[in-house]
């Protein structure tokens, strides 16, 4: 009985550590190739291909999905991703701009933090312009957000959503007096 228990414990230790290593290696490769070979077709290393294959195996997929072990541990590595800002413009029935909002009206700080994580999706819009279906999907999402903002206003009001890339100057540029910029990615209206 003790031997069986020990065998089970060893199996669990090996399996969990394998899962941790697998996610770490797979997502490290993803981060590396994404950063240095963005939009380029590149022959990935054998280890990268093996980790991709194992990561998607059904038993591993189910285990990592139900336990959180799918996460990588890069946290801002190898690069701090760019962020996005959405600006909502509210026009009255005469077309006069009456309100400018820089975020969706949520009641809690945590709700706002969670909603902001959605912005990371828009990076795909810049990095994977070829993926038309996903870009259309993102457009649907922004349209839904625009609809939600419009709920607080009369039906004959127009809501315009502008999606901007937040571009903060590099250290050198900042010292030269360059200020942060908002680069318009797309405009949506409802």
């Amino acid at each position: 009985m003790i031997k069986l228990r020990k065998t089970i414990q060893i199996f669990i230790i090996v399996f969990v550590l394998f899962s941790v290593f697998l996610s770490s290696i797979k997502l490290t490769f993803d981060g590396y190739y994404g950063f240095y070979y963005e939009n380029q077709k590149v022959n990935r290393t054998t280890l990268s291909n093996i980790s991709d294959y194992l990561y998607d195996l059904k038993p591993i997929f189910l285990f990592r999905s139900y336990t959180g072990f799918e996460t990588g541990y890069g946290f801002f590595g190898p690069n701090v991703s760019s962020d996005f800002i959405t600006v909502f413009k509210v026009y009255d029935e005469k077309g006069k701009l009456i309100k400018l909002l820089d975020k969706v009206n949520l009641k809690s700080k945590e709700g706002t933090i969670r909603f902001t994580t959605l912005n990371s999706l828009f990076l795909e819009k810049l990095t994977d312009k070829e993926n038309k279906k996903f870009n259309q999907y993102l457009d649907i999402i922004v349209n839904q957000i625009t609809k939600y903002v419009g709920k607080d206003y009369p039906k004959n009001y127009k809501i315009e959503t502008e999606l901007y890339l937040f571009d903060y100057p590099t250290i050198v540029d900042f010292n030269k007096g360059v200020d942060k910029k908002l680069i318009l990615i797309k405009k949506y209206s409802l």
Binding site: V16, L17, Y73, G74, P78, F115, I145
Partner: protein, 297 residues
Amino acid sequence: MKLTLKKINTFFFKENTNFEWISFFRIAIGFLLLLHFISVLPDFNSLFSTNGIIPSDILDTFIPNNIITFPKIITFFSSFGISEIITTLLFKIFYVAFSVCLIIGFSPRVSATFLLVLQISLVKGSSFYAYGVDYFSSMSLFYLILIPSHYKYSIYTYLKRNIQISNITPYKRLFQLHLCIAYFFSGFDKVLGFNWWNGESIWKAINLPFANNDFNFNFSFLAHHSILLIIIGWATIIIEMLYPIFIWIPKTRKTWLYLTISMHLGIALILNLYIFSAIMIIWNLTNFYTFDNKQTL
């Protein structure tokens, strides 16, 4: 060879009767999950309901069928005539109840199992709103299912029931190694990016639109003294990559633990990611703080 195997065996299986670390973990994670859940309750319907800001049928598009989500739970109960309002209310009640059960140590493994299902369904149902802390919460619950945590500071010890003690050292070692791998890769991923070598990544991170909104520190002086940004960047890489070495050496353990905790406090203050920082500090204290004031872990 035999000696090495013996050492490995001792490392993983030597019994330790100090259970304070796992009790601390259970109580701290219980409180954190409860706090995290309560903090988003005012926006619960906007984010997670079927008719939220982004309706669930759109959010669900890329979710495989074998993954449980909150909207799927709603659909399941609606087939029995139970409305979304009732299901949502029950979901909230159970989430809070199971968190409280964890805190007081009432059937913690069963509570952690149910809580993991609820938490995963919430996170997967609206995966676009998920961030680091959600994955660490899920993993924490997984460890609370794996490791018995009711030996100390639980309702069972209060009622003085006869508790059968089992050897939990193997799982403690697993948890410790997991944390070491996590920190190593965290540092390794950073060192792969050239912007981490010249201070640009730190500069970019502290100036992200969601960062530094609570205290509004003026960091412009750092651009004039960019050497400080380079030092902070390299210090982060060194603390993380060398964590698996210095955290195991008794003489450097405390220093490395406090350095790592300081790093997470910095993340909390500057990036305003309080819950994420809190869970990382809990993981560190659980695994490498010696609760019984001895040097052994």
